[in-house]
């Protein structure tokens, strides 16, 4: 499902080299629920970006859903991404569209039948408890609501793989527990989940396999 072999990622900021990932290797098999944790700046977001090929490793091999990423062509990358649901840490909601339109947009541009769209969008909104705010624009949402809308957008296509980057970072504990339930439901229905969070406590709470990054190194893989 996911396989990393000796992955390094180094950023250059002027003359300074920032090592964001150092020699990371691991495998995730179909149907797993993996928590990726580590302090701020550990490299969690960087790792996820490599998995959906928004960036390429400085060194090492990555394959996702059987697709070798280093050699992937544009068309293959697009096909891969259609099977992945992503919750971005910075939500990336389109400010000019309502919550409903933001989620429908993803279905539209990937070719979903028009007749199905409304039902699927509202299923996703119900799952994250946001149906009442469907007509609100992103600027009219609290940050927690925005994160839930972003989660709804990620799951609306029932992806094979869900990459969630801090989906509960701005949410109070009660709400976060609900979101964890939503993600667990998706996992139960067969989606592989990679859940990134800086809240080490959460990893314990979820009682799942946990990968711990620290300063770009994979220091622990347990569960």
């Amino acid at each position: 499902m996911i396989e990393l072999q000796g992955v390094w990622k180094t950023f250059s900021v002027g003359p300074v080299k920032v090592p964001a990932l150092s020699d990371v290797s691991f495998r995730v098999t179909r149907g797993e629920f993996v928590v990726l944790t580590g302090p701020s700046g550990a490299g969690k977001t960087t790792l996820l970006r490599l998995l959906y090929r928004e960036d390429v490793p400085s060194e090492g091999e990555i394959s996702v859903l059987g697709q070798e990423l280093n050699s992937a062509r544009r068309r293959e990358v697009a096909a891969l991404r259609r099977s992945i649901g992503i919750v971005f840490q910075d939500s990336k909601l389109l400010p000019g569209r309502t919550v409903y339109e933001n989620i429908a947009f993803v279905l539209r541009v990937t070719g979903t039948q028009r007749s199905e769209i409304t039902a699927r969008v509202f299923d996703a909104l119900r799952a994250v408890g946001l149906s009442a705010r469907a007509q609100a624009y992103p600027a009219q949402l609290s940050q927690g609501e925005a994160q839930r809308a972003a989660l709804a957008r990620a799951i609306v296509r029932r992806p094979t793989l869900l990459l969630a980057d801090e989906p509960t970072g701005n949410i109070d504990d009660a709400m976060a527990a609900e979101i964890h339930d939503v993600i667990k439901d998706i996992w139960v229905s067969g989606t592989t989940v990679l859940f990134a969070t800086h809240q080490a406590r959460l990893a314990t709470l979820l009682k799942r396999r946990t990968l711990v990054l620290e300063g770009g190194r994979l220091v622990k893989d347990q569960g």
């Binding site: 991404r81 971005f88 990336k92 000019g96 947009f105 993803v106 541009v109 990937t110």
Partner: protein
């Protein structure tokens, strides 16, 4: 799907608002100026052609020839390269036309004892002779060599003058064309950058969720084409309107100054070409958007 893509294109236009309007108006201006220049050039070309037709070279003859030998003489003159047609003007005819020319002073003719004028041959030069001063000089030299010719009036001047006029026209055309091309390129570039900027976030999300390439690009293309189309249609409307309003007012003036009895407007085919040009121009801008990143 196409319905969605067109809706997206329209949404972009609405969102870009005043700037989209600016781009459309700039396309309108560029095309309207292009059309106006086109009309102007073709009418000026007509005027030049007409002046060229009016140019005459006169060969004065040493003596009035025997009427029977005139056709043979005309045939020999017409054989000279650069001569389009030749007309014989007898001495009596010459006096009559001098009287017409003199107008108020025509009384002098009535006081004449004998007709002092020579017979002549009036020649209309062919287009080949007006094409260059060299060709014209060659023709004049050949005519002067005729044994019957006393003097040849008309010089390379008129050709010089015509070719100067044409140079002027070509220069003005080049200048206006260059400026318009620049303006059009700028318009397209600006519009492109704006469209791109307005769609930046949409494009990012589309790529991240794996939308096919044509879905990402088509709204940009359609939107550009729409802008171009609207601009071009408005430009054609302006041109037709200006023509309807202006032509009846200007025709007498143009006749007076340029001697052109009637102006011609662009044929429908050219108007259609203008609309197609505008649409393609806009579409090009939209398509380029990706490269412009």
């Amino acid at each position: 799907m196409l319905g969605f893509l067109i809706a997206e294109a329209l949404r972009d236009l609405r969102r870009a608002g005043r700037v989209a309007l600016s781009a459309m108006l700039l396309i309108t201006l560029a095309l309207a100026a292009l059309g106006a220049f086109w009309t102007l050039t073709s009418n000026l070309g007509d005027a030049v052609a007409k002046w060229r037709d009016r140019v005459r070279v006169i060969v004065y003859l040493k003596s009035e020839p025997d009427p029977a030998s005139v056709p043979a003489l005309l045939a020999r003159v017409q054989a000279v390269p650069g001569v389009a047609s030749a007309t014989y003007v007898g001495r009596t005819q010459a006096l009559a036309s001098l009287k017409r020319v003199l107008g108020k002073d025509a009384t002098v003719v009535d006081h004449l004892g004998a007709n002092p004028l020579s017979a002549s041959i009036e020649i209309a030069p062919a287009a080949s002779a007006s094409a260059s001063p060299e060709a014209a000089r060659a023709m004049l030299a050949r005519l002067a060599e005729f044994p019957e010719a006393e003097e040849v009036a008309g010089s390379a001047d008129w050709v010089e003058r015509l070719s100067e006029w044409q140079r002027l026209l070509a220069f003005v055309g080049l200048g206006i064309g260059g400026v318009l091309a620049l303006a059009a390129i700028l318009t397209v570039t600006t519009a492109t950058t704006l469209v791109l900027h307005a769609r930046r976030q949409e494009t990012e999300i589309m790529r991240l969720v794996g939308a096919p390439e044509f879905v990402i690009r088509l709204p940009l293309l359609l939107q550009g084409m729409l802008q171009g189309l609207v601009g071009a249609v408005v430009a054609v409307g302006l041109l037709v309107g200006a023509w309807r309003l202006g032509a009846p007012h200007f025709e007498p003036l143009i006749e007076l100054t340029l001697g052109l009895p009637q102006l011609t407007f662009m044929p429908p085919v050219q108007l259609a070409a203008l609309v197609v040009t505008g649409t393609l121009l806009g579409g090009l801008g939209g398509w380029l958007a990706r490269a412009g990143r």
